[in-house]
Symmetry: C2
Subunit: 256 residues, 2 copies
DNA sequence: GAACTCAGTTCCGGAATATGGAACAGACAG
DNA sequence: CTGTCTGTTCCATATTCCGGAACTGAGTTC
């Protein structure tokens, strides 16, 4: 057969990686024949490659002969280092959002009924946020928290909603209204509800599941994130969050 | 060079998988040179293989040139299907434990301050447990829950400890004593603390981190799991949990 | 129960593909 | 500038992988 596509000198690995990706990404565990057909490889080649992948625990074959992600993937997922690696994958996106807005950027995930900040890009202004990494903030009065609540990554805690400022939403019904508007717009805002003078917007990050896995937020002083500048910041935030989502394989579902 | 080791016909893939495993399993992100040395491959070959793996998002290179698990792994870990796959990996071990003991076997993980049962093997007796999958039981009075508490997979909830039976441990200090004895023995017991007549033992499953990720339990009626039979059941349970742990790459740390 | 079908593995000759030594390209140090 | 260290590219060679065909084994059908 003539050389057609890649002059890389790694044909076997390219093909094996193709099969592996199909197994990992595929919605349903795939059968041998499906994989062979989808990849366009000869039966014999497919068999050899899949056997090799199986031998190295990259895929696993169930008794029905369907292929699942192998032990190496399961092991990795449970090792607990996935958080750190999420940060690493997200960092360039956060940096980009920092460039676009100039404000403080945070990546937050749900942890024990709070938002845990796991990565940050600092504002380029003198007046900006301090370092929030490691800080846990309440779900109901932060932009990230509202996003996590609205998109199924967290549940409203049983305890009464603490009034951090006079603007904080403390009524559960009112919070529900707020959350459905967050779902509709695709982003959340906190306008001096967490701390006087602090305004933030946040957008959800998806990774394949139906619930968000994290939130990206842009925060700054009310003086710089007023009614005129906020829409642009929100748009940037949503866009970057969607870009990260698509890298992570999440459907980009703006609303609902 | 003469053919030495494997007559498989997948040399390139074997080598690439070797490198990939080193990157994923390695405690520290590895550099190019370290990988080349550890695998014993020629520089040129290592370079070509790693570039191919990177192209397929199986590894990722940071600005310092160190290699991290690629986007495919991060994506997989966050997709939320890891639970289901843990069950699939664990099933044969649970089956084996079921064979050994004849009793009901469950795999439980922490979820929202309870133990969520995610897989089960049924007792071979008429009098046995019903199906617990999907059922959430309290942490402080189940064997699995005690294991998860003792080995850092869960924290004692803030709420008062519910007295499910008259034997349930409701004192926090008493629970702490119990947990440290669990850590010492390497397994937990619940003796009619959850439900009258129900006895269970459980052992922790590790996956590389310092905290347990799940617990395997053996449960049955007090009549069949009395003082004479319980030690054997506990030993079997611990052994199988350790076998699963080592498949998942967890250090087999009995105590401490 | 023999003939067919379908899923998947093994075989094998041929040639395309991966291999590794050496040359090369940067980056940093002295 | 010279030396060292990391990593990539080049290229001729022959080793390794490819794919068609034969084979195996489990169902199905008649």
């Amino acid at each position: 057969m003539a050389v057609v596509s890649s002059p890389t000198g790694t044909q076997a690995i390219d093909r094996a990686a193709l099969l592996l990706t199909q197994v990992i990404q595929g919605a349903e565990p795939a059968s041998f024949t499906e994989l062979a057909a989808a990849s366009g490889l000869a039966k014999s080649t497919t068999s050899r490659l899949l056997t090799a992948l199986e031998r190295h625990q990259l895929v696993r074959r169930d008794p029905d002969g369907r292929f699942w992600p192998g032990e190496l993937f399961v092991r990795y997922a449970w090792q607990g280092t996935a958080d750190a690696d999420l940060v690493a994958v997200a960092q360039p996106y956060l940096d980009q959002l920092g460039e676009l807005t100039g404000e403080t950027i945070n990546l937050g995930i749900e942890s024990g009924n709070t938002v845990q900040q796991v990565a940050q890009v600092d504002s380029r202004y003198m007046i900006g946020g301090t370092n929030w990494v490691g800080l846990a903030v309440p779900l109901h009065c932060s932009a990230s928290g509202k996003v996590l609540l609205a998109f199924g990554a967290a549940a409203v805690p049983a305890e009464p909603l603490e009034a951090r400022t006079e603007r904080t939403i403390v009524s559960r019904t009112q919070l529900e209204v707020e959350l459905s508007s967050v779902r509709e717009r695709g982003f959340a805002v906190t306008d001096e509800e967490l701390e006087p003078g602090l305004v933030a917007v946040a957008a959800p990050v998806f990774a394949g599941g139906l619930a968000a896995i994290a939130a990206i937020s842009v925060s700054g002083p009310a003086s710089r994130l007023g009614a005129s500048q906020l829409p642009a910041a929100a748009a940037n935030c949503v866009e970057v969050a969607q870009a990260l989502s698509s890298t992570l394989g999440g459907q980009i579902e703006g609303a609902r």
